[in-house]
Symmetry: C2
Subunit: 492 residues, 2 copies
């Protein structure tokens, strides 16, 4: 009847793709590694963007827009950052096509339009932004400079997955400049908190706040803070990062300010970002074998109403009642859709909106009308219940609220069950194979050990949690002494 979806158990990866494609979030494109974000997926992104944008503005940030293309000479100025991204840069070398004289109706790159200097499509915008900040910052009065940009970026990834890893993706990138290291660190942490609040309160997705090990740091950062989430297959997903960049970019682009005593110093920097990857995380955090489960606070459609009727007369009576309900729900700020499309039957619609993860479905038939009730089905638990029409909007408001909390609690319980301690190598490997999830284990603190663990198991250190308890122990690989556990996982 509905569209077929793989089950999580059978083929997790196919299940994920089915939800994205058949749920109408995105589509493959003719461009290698790039996707099309379909209207339903884009509406979800708009909701996420609007909430985040407000949180950024409430914490004093302004939006701006910087060029897509970065001259190679600028890009290479901050060496670590440049080398970190060099391997995945799309490069513009020419600025013109011309008619191909040897092939009718075909165009070719005009060799005479070769650029003197190649342009890189931004994989991230530190270079172009810090080159601009040089002209904007002279004195402590110009600080802090708190700017965010919503933009597309391109990273030439070899293995791509819808939303999780695409050659082009949409994101926001905050880039701030401060007079002191302390202020910059406070900003870095503040934005991590913003991301964590967004993930937990809006996406209904619990996250662990932490700091990356040196191997996993952003290229050019002194410290990378992150939020890490756990997916239903036991793999971790980095959902957002906030970087303390120290004075690296200020030095590379010569951005100095004079302080109150007229002393010159380099400014301190942060950058922080989340991307359309969050949609992939959202999908995997809550959905089930029948389709998407979207949190009410972000769902493009929060309530769908489906009429069940025979003949025009019943339909007309239902239409009239539904018009009242819709207007009442809209007044409460609820995004409601009445699907009275005659081309599909109620059963098909039920399956379709389950697939699309609409939190609440209201069914209404002639008998319901007579009894002044409606049938309400919640997507997350699939529970169905008859609700009186009297006070319906109040009931729906509290039901949506309940669903929001409930999916968070479910994800949270799952996450708690899947953080396990491993005290030696055998335990560690066994856990990875049998249970996955986050593994809390000791490590000797070196990049070499981290690399070796990754080579042996594909697991990486996801983060060193903030406020991590200090505890003496022995590195799971080398047995060397360690002062705290860190969280390992296989990750997206």
């Amino acid at each position: 009847m509905g569209k077929e979806i793989a089950s999580r158990k059978e083929d997790y990866s196919q299940w994920y793709n089915d939800l994205i494609i058949k749920g109408g979030l995105a589509d493959y494109s003719a461009v290698r590694g790039c996707m099309v974000i379909k209207p339903y997926g884009f509406a979800l992104w708009e909701n996420m963007r609007d909430v985040l944008d407000k949180m950024f503005k409430d914490t004093g940030h302004q939006n701006a827009y910087f060029p897509l293309l970065v001259p190679k000479s600028l890009f290479e100025k901050e060496e670590e950052n440049a080398e970190g991204f060099a391997k995945e840069c799309a490069v513009v070398t020419h600025y013109r096509l011309k008619v191909n004289p040897e092939k009718k109706g075909s165009l070719m790159v005009d060799p005479e339009s070769k650029l003197e200097e190649e342009l890189v499509i931004r994989p991230t915008s530190e270079a172009i932004i810090w080159n601009t900040y040089k002209g904007w910052i002279q004195s402590y009065r110009d600080l802090p400079l708190l700017i965010n940009q919503w933009a597309n970026v391109v990273r030439w990834e070899m293995r791509t997955r819808l939303f999780l890893r695409t050659a082009e993706f949409l994101w926001q990138e905050g880039h701030t400049a401060h007079a002191t290291a302390d202020e910059a660190i406070a900003e870095t942490k503040q934005m991590l908190d913003v991301y964590a609040t967004f993930a937990e309160e809006f996406m209904g997705m619990p996250v662990i706040k932490g700091v990356k090990s040196p191997n996993e740091r952003f290229a050019g950062a002194l410290d990378t803070y992150c939020i890490e989430a756990l997916m239903q297959d036991g793999k971790a997903l980095q959902a957002g990062t906030s970087h303390f960049l120290g004075q690296n970019f200020a030095k590379a682009f010569d951005v100095k300010f004079s302080d109150k005593e007229n002393k010159l110093d380099y400014v301190w920097a942060t950058s922080w970002g989340v991307s359309t990857r969050l949609i992939g995380a959202l999908v995997m955090a809550h959905s089930d074998d029948d389709g998407l489960i979207l949190p009410p606070k972000l769902a493009p459609i929060q309530v769908v109403i489906v009429p069940i009727y025979k003949g025009d007369e019943q339909k007309k009576a239902i239409d009239e009642k539904v018009a009242e309900i819709v207007s009442e729900l809209k007044q409460r700020g609820i995004k409601v859709k009445y699907d009275d499309n005659e081309n599909s039957r109620p059963g098909w619609k039920f399956a379709e909106y389950e697939l699309k993860g609409v939190p609440v479905r209201i069914g209404i038939g002639a008998r319901d009308l007579a009894n002044s009730v409606v049938e309400v089905a919640r997507r997350d638990t699939k529970e169905k219940k008859s609700y009186p029409m009297e006070g319906l909007s109040d009931s729906i408001v509290s039901l949506l609220d309940d669903i929001q909390k409930s999916i968070y609690n479910k994800a949270s319980a799952f996450r708690e069950q899947n953080i396990t301690k491993a005290d030696n190598w055998e335990e560690f490997v066994k856990l990875l194979d049998e249970k996955a999830g986050f593994i809390s284990a000791h490590w000797n603190g070196t990049g070499e050990t981290e690399d070796e663990i990754k080579n042996l198991t594909k697991a990486t250190i996801r983060c060193i949690p903030l406020n991590n308890p200090q505890e003496e122990g022995a590195c799971i690989l080398t047995g060397q002494p360690s002062k705290e556990r860190v969280l390992f996982a296989r990750a997206y």
Copy 2:
């Protein structure tokens, strides 16, 4: 005291640049032909975007997102469109940089990363979108398909001007598919009306709705509708276009649908767009020699409050009163800023907010406080008046409303005075040199004549106005018979 700005009379073009740069809307960038949109300019764009986005959604459109990069083979499928944009395409040929072995700290394009097929950065998205629509449209039930995209595009322009013509710009592009030509034409006209309403009611900028002559049509369109505005220097500016694309793209990308009788046909298409160019138009439509004049409905700051005081005690009393005023104005939905920055004096602030085009300035000093009044200055007329604090928010709401109408009326009167008839070549040339503006004149209807007039005078046909009165006459260049006047102008 304030920042120096060229006068319109002395140097119109410098005046424009001064407003953009010194008014804080945008900045030059290190990338040829690309600009940085600064926070104040971007806030203006966000306001424009939000209004337009609501108008698009209210007319049934949904947003989506398509890839930035277009494979050359797709791009060249609709031949006219491809050739129209080929000369200004940025082309990605490689996907990797590597460390340059011959120059320490420098990167070079990795020749081994050459793409098999070059990718064009979208100059417009018909090709990639119609290639995608092929998979989305099978039956009349899938139509109409009403999609809009907010995106950046790149056109390698040789001569660039801030906002008016930049290599990269931000825009929206609507792309719709319909079952019949009539429906597509109705959509084209509907979106032209949306643009005209936006320009007049929000930007306060009168526009003429018309259709382009064949020479000025969008490459690949059967008809291009446009809105044309008049700038203060007598030059015209195309502010938005809406294209009826016929079945050109459907044929190029093989997009067919089966109608109710199960008959296959190609679908009918439209596309329509406005861009950050509108900010340039807005600046030139209203501003004066003291700076920007922004319409209240789009201004990032609608009201600025400046305290005038001596000593902490006066300041404290003013702060308390202003807190009340700010809260009252915010409750009315007014965007208000209290600038009590101690680093600059009131006179400097007055000049600065005049430059930035804030519609209303409220000055408040100790004596005002004693008399329960404030001094209110409106930016457009520079009129100053004392307003009682009692009922201030009501007064400000109606003042903002009055300013919005007033700048529209002023621009409208200017436009009316600058549409002039020319009945022969001498009149035409004389008008162009001495008065400029729109010149209403007869033309023999051929592209050759249009080209020759352009070569001789740099004037082009801006549009054939909708509902144009029919009138017998003689072409100003050739003397050949003509059935209607068209509007000529030199244009941005």
